[in-house]
């Protein structure tokens, strides 16, 4: 029973971090209606920014958020403005701009290979940070402190983003664009600027996710790929475009991965996660929290 509780706690903590890595993906999809295949690479860029910020300054990893959030927002904003927007404009009469998806795939390859070129294939981790290897003892149970920080950060971020979309003027403008971009344009909203901002927000959230990962995970050029695949599964589970859905979807995946291996080999949990993914697509394609409306 104690083992079960210990694994459940680890599953929830790790799962909420997975949710955070998927949050940016779901927001970008919600607004732009584009599946961003470069999302894992954005996480990778965030991890390198976070790694260098912490390694060069020696500060507490979470203090690096001050640098990582603006840098990543700007990176996402400019990436959308310079690379993706022209394609969007060329396809503006199409409801689901497929070319943009292909462009994001190109961005993925270019970013991964650029980081390989600049930083080399080495695995980097920050040795002397106050969170590394810290465990919190609860009776006989061990709970990872960096994951606890990650979980709290994920929940705060999700709540913050929700508040922003729900109650601020800019947030409402973004939602308006998301619901009907033509109507939003008629109401005087500059749709491309909203896209830039939404992409910037999604990228900045990847930066926050990167911060939660660096105290216990390695940074390397293809680090995004494994989180990318998980991100897609989580977003579909939770419902495309749903903020709460991303976190809940992440926790579901985390729980399966953490509790499952006590009853079977770890490789089987992967099969269960993918099985669940297919089941959701068959039974409730809009996901657990997705709205049923037609995009």
């Amino acid at each position: 029973m104690l083992y079960f509780i210990e694994d459940t706690i680890n599953g929830i903590l790790m799962g909420s971090i997975y949710g955070l890595t998927a949050l940016g993906l779901t927001i970008i999809f919600g607004v732009l209606k584009v599946i961003n295949f470069a999302h894992g690479s954005l996480l990778m860029v965030g991890m390198y920014v976070a790694y260098w910020a912490v390694a060069l300054s020696g500060v507490h990893p979470y203090l690096a958020l001050v640098v990582v959030i603006p840098v990543m927002f700007l990176f996402g904003y400019l990436l959308q403005d310079i690379v993706i927007k022209p394609i969007f404009k060329a396809e503006k009469d199409v409801r689901e701009p497929v070319t943009v998806i292909i462009v994001t795939t190109g961005v993925w390859y270019i970013l991964d290979n650029l980081s390989l070129l600049f930083f080399g294939p080495q695995y980097r981790s920050i040795q002397d940070n106050p969170l590394r290897g810290k465990m919190f003892e609860l009776g006989e149970m061990l709970i990872s402190v960096p994951k606890l920080w990650g979980c709290v950060t994920a929940l705060i971020t999700a709540a913050g983003v929700y508040y922003f979309f729900q109650y601020t003027r800019l947030g409402r403008a973004i939602r308006a664009t998301s619901l009907d971009r033509d109507a939003a344009s008629l109401a005087g909203i500059n749709q491309y600027k909203i896209y830039n901002i939404a992409f910037g927000i999604g990228t900045a959230i990847s930066g926050i996710a990167a911060i939660t990962l660096i105290p216990f995970y390695n940074t390397f050029p293809t680090v995004g790929v494994s989180f990318d695949i998980k991100g897609f599964i989580i977003v579909v589970l939770g419902g495309l475009g749903s903020i709460g859905g991303a976190i809940v979807g992440g926790i579901i995946v985390g729980l399966i991965e953490s509790v499952g291996p006590q009853f079977m080999t770890a490789t089987w949990t992967e099969a269960i996660v993918y099985g669940l993914f297919l089941l959701v697509l068959f039974v409730k394609p809009s996901g657990l929290f997705g709205e049923k409306n037609d995009w």
């Binding site: 680890n10 980097r124 953490s258 770890a266």
Partner: protein
């Protein structure tokens, strides 16, 4: 003959001749001088070119030493001459080049090919022509299982990696008077991990160990704490691992975080031998044992000097592949001395009778070269290293076989 190939061959012959003339200045080859031609089929371009280059450098260093010391005395001071052929890591290329070296270049001995997929068909050509073929290193077991009389392999074969991990456990357990009963196996879920774990299960059964955990994990995993919890709860004495790079670091760190108490951790190269592993895992990696072909600090006479000379000439440390190639030249020299003839059958017989235990070539981790009836060097073994910090930061220190252990180092076993 295709014109292109013809020209390519002309050019490569020319290149070899020019290369030799350049590398042997002041060594006029008089007509009376006997020359022993050694044909080397190695990957000099393509995906394994780096390894091929290391093998080429090591061969050249050994041959220069042998020739400078007077060549082969029993053949009237005959000099060794190296002839290269590029396999490009392609089996068909290796086979073609073997035909050329035997028929056109009239080589006396062949060596190569590093890539097991090339060595396997190429040795068949040598067998057909009855030309002795010495394989420094190509690990596939099947190479010496073909029933060939002319094929000899120096390095340990694939299945011996796991064999040596178990010999190591047994030897350490005896040396440090520590009982080892329960083993846990954790490995990446690919061909490589599954293959090794399959051997482990058989070896553990034969040696009477209890296997308390046999757990594959997906190699793209992002969280290994569930697996580490399973290791902790199964309470093994020794944990054996097969990992790629990212998961090796994650596994090592997570084991330290969850304070898993083990007498020893034994890994199988791969990710645990990655140059960035020690740096990224940091002190969590301390006391880990890893298996390798060779390490620069092996305690063998001449090993340090050979490494320094090689590093000075080629700017890199010797590697397992280079050391095997270096040794191959000395084995050929030893066999030629005893054969005292260039008759292929006599050279083959001399190779089969090899009992080499000293000399400049013996800088490998084991003590002797003796070929069994299949042509496999039955004395070959791998080397175990321990990662520890003895004042110079974390480094890999040779601990096993005991005769190769770094001078003055006592392995930390069991793990504190």
């Amino acid at each position: 003959m295709d014109k292109k190939i013809f020209w390519k061959r002309c050019m490569s012959t020319l290149a070899v001749t020019v290369g030799l003339t350049l590398t042997l200045p002041g060594a006029p080859l008089l007509a009376a001088d006997k020359v022993v031609k050694i044909g080397n089929i190695i990957p000099l371009s393509g995906p394994s070119a780096t390894v091929g280059e290391q093998g080429k450098n090591a061969r050249e260093m050994a041959v220069a030493e042998i020739n400078a010391a007077g060549g082969i005395a029993s053949l009237g001071g005959a000099k060794l001459e190296l002839v290269y052929a590029d396999s490009e890591s392609k089996p068909e290329k290796g086979v073609g080049e073997a035909e050329r070296l035997i028929n056109t270049e009239k080589v006396n001995v062949l060596t190569g090919c590093w890539n097991s997929s090339v060595t396997y068909p190429t040795t068949a050509v040598a067998e057909r022509y009855g030309v002795p073929f010495l394989v420094p290193v190509s690990v596939a077991d099947k190479i010496t299982e073909q029933g060939f009389k002319n094929v000899f392999r120096i390095a340990a074969k694939d299945s011996w990696w796991t064999r040596d991990q178990f010999s190591f456990i047994k030897d350490m357990s005896a040396e440090f008077n520590t009982e080892i009963k329960k083993l846990a196996f954790v490995y990446e879920n690919g061909d490589w991990g599954q293959g090794i774990a399959g051997n482990w299960v058989k070896l553990a059964k034969a040696a009477g160990y209890e296997v308390v955990l046999n757990e594959p994990y997906p190699s793209t995993t992002t969280d290994l704490s569930p697996v580490v919890q399973k290791i902790k709860r199964s309470r093994p004495d020794v944990l054996m691992m097969v990992s790629n790079a990212a998961d090796a670091i994650l596994l090592t760190n997570t084991l330290a975080e969850y304070r898993v108490r083990l007498k020893a951790l034994i890994s199988s190269g791969g990710g645990h031998a990655d140059p960035s592993f020690i740096q990224a895992a940091g002190k969590s990696a301390r006391y880990l044992f890893d298996i390798v072909e060779w390490e620069t600090d092996v305690n063998k006479p001449g090993a340090r000097e050979a490494n320094e000379k090689y590093k000075k000439q080629y700017g890199q440390n010797l590697t397992g592949e280079a050391v095997d190639a270096y040794l191959a030249m000395y084995i050929i020299k030893d066999a030629l001395e005893r054969a005292a003839s260039l008759d292929p059958e006599k050279i083959r017989q001399a190779l089969a009778d090899t009992q080499l235990s000293d000399g400049p070539g013996m800088i490998v981790g084991y003590d002797k070269v003796v070929f069994d009836e299949k042509g496999q060097n039955k004395e070959a073994s791998l080397v175990m290293v321990q990662i520890n910090d003895i004042g110079n930061g974390l480094e890999r220190i040779t601990v096993w076989p005991k005769s190769a252990r770094r001078v003055g180092y006592t392995p930390v076993f069991p793990k504190p």
